[in-house]
């Protein structure tokens, strides 16, 4: 892999992780963990058919796990804006943890479709080609994912 390709993937992975974690340090930790997984895979002689899709899936899973673990441990809030936790940050972190918990309830395909759409703005046709599914099936996964999130998160909101 060229340096340019690595930097591109690294920026993508960091961006995906940050979207879910909203914290620079946590996003960097997840980025590092994702690339360790990737290098281990490559060292075994395996190679994902679609590296960006694989990286996004693993990144989202790692970030969800990190958020859920932090929620279980009830760690102090570490959002970016200030060193001291503010009520709005607490509410935001709570929303992120609830979102992570809801995303955990989606099937892997629903999660992949949803994050490809929301994080990268992929078209349904593009996602269908990447995941080797029909476009109606991709739309169905997207719709079911949104329905599940809506049921799990009836009052998801960032206090401001």
């Amino acid at each position: 892999m060229s340096v340019e390709a690595f930097e591109h993937h690294r920026a993508q992975v960091y961006g995906w992780a940050f979207r879910l974690l909203q914290n620079h340090h946590d996003a960097l930790d997840v980025t590092q963990d994702v690339f360790i997984k990737w290098w281990r895979l490559l060292a075994k002689g395996d190679s994902p058919a679609n590296p960006p899709a694989w990286l996004r899936q693993v990144t989202v899973n790692q970030a969800i796990d990190a958020l859920r673990k932090s929620a279980v441990r009830k760690e102090p809030i570490a959002l970016e804006k200030s060193a001291v936790a503010e009520p709005t940050d607490l509410a935001h972190r709570e929303s992120l943890c609830r979102l992570a918990d809801a995303l955990h309830h989606l099937t892997q395909r629903q999660r992949s479709v949803l994050t490809a759409k929301i994080f990268d703005g992929c078209t349904f046709a593009n996602i269908a080609e990447t995941m080797e599914l029909s476009i109606p099936t991709v739309k169905s996964h997207y719709f079911r994912a949104l329905q599940t999130l809506r049921a799990k998160l009836p009052d998801l909101r960032r206090e401001s």
């Binding site: 960091y14 940050f18 979207r19 909203q22 620079h24 929303s95 979102l99 739309k139 949104l146 998160l153």
Partner: protein, 156 residues
């Protein structure tokens, strides 16, 4: 419009994959169906909330920029690797200066005298004052000193 068609079109609507004409036609349908309108509004609100709580990062850090220290587990792993490398180096050098065994001394063929008084000299004798494995001990001491955490805040 049956349920399957509605879900397909709602996915396009929420995913912003409709032409202006398709969007206008779908919104016309929503205006005529309260139930479908309510469902579309609820999912659109959810999409807005997701965008709100998950804004994209403003900038991406370059790999060469100042970044926080790696996690403790990675630091620990790196330090163990450094210990192992230095230890192997020390053992290797210590092995290199060990006294030669009798079997390792080259004997000239067909010379009976050489069996009694080998011409080769054990290496320890050639380096008087240096004990066997002393070099390895020095390497270990060096590695211990080198592996101390480096303070970045100044000396006390």
């Amino acid at each position: 419009m049956n349920r399957e068609q509605f879900e397909d079109m709602l996915a396009d609507y929420l995913g912003d994959e409709m032409t202006p004409e398709q969007r206008q036609a779908f919104e016309q349908h929503l205006a005529e169906s309260d139930a479908d309108r309510a469902e579309a509004d609820a999912l659109a609100a959810l999409m807005g909330q997701l965008e709100e709580i998950m804004p994209a990062p403003c900038s991406l850090p370059a790999s060469g920029s100042a970044s926080p220290a790696p996690p403790a587990s990675v630091m620990r792993f790196g330090r163990i690797l450094a210990y192992a490398a230095i230890l192997l180096l020390g053992v290797g050098i210590g092995w290199g200066i060990r006294p030669m065994e009798q079997s390792e001394v080259e004997l000239p063929p067909n010379n009976p005298d050489s069996l009694v008084t080998p011409k080769s000299t054990p290496r320890d004798d050639r380096w008087p004052g240096i004990e066997r494995n002393a070099f390895a001990k020095n390497c270990l001491a060096f590695s211990t000193a080198f592996s101390r955490p480096i303070s970045t805040t100044g000396r006390n």
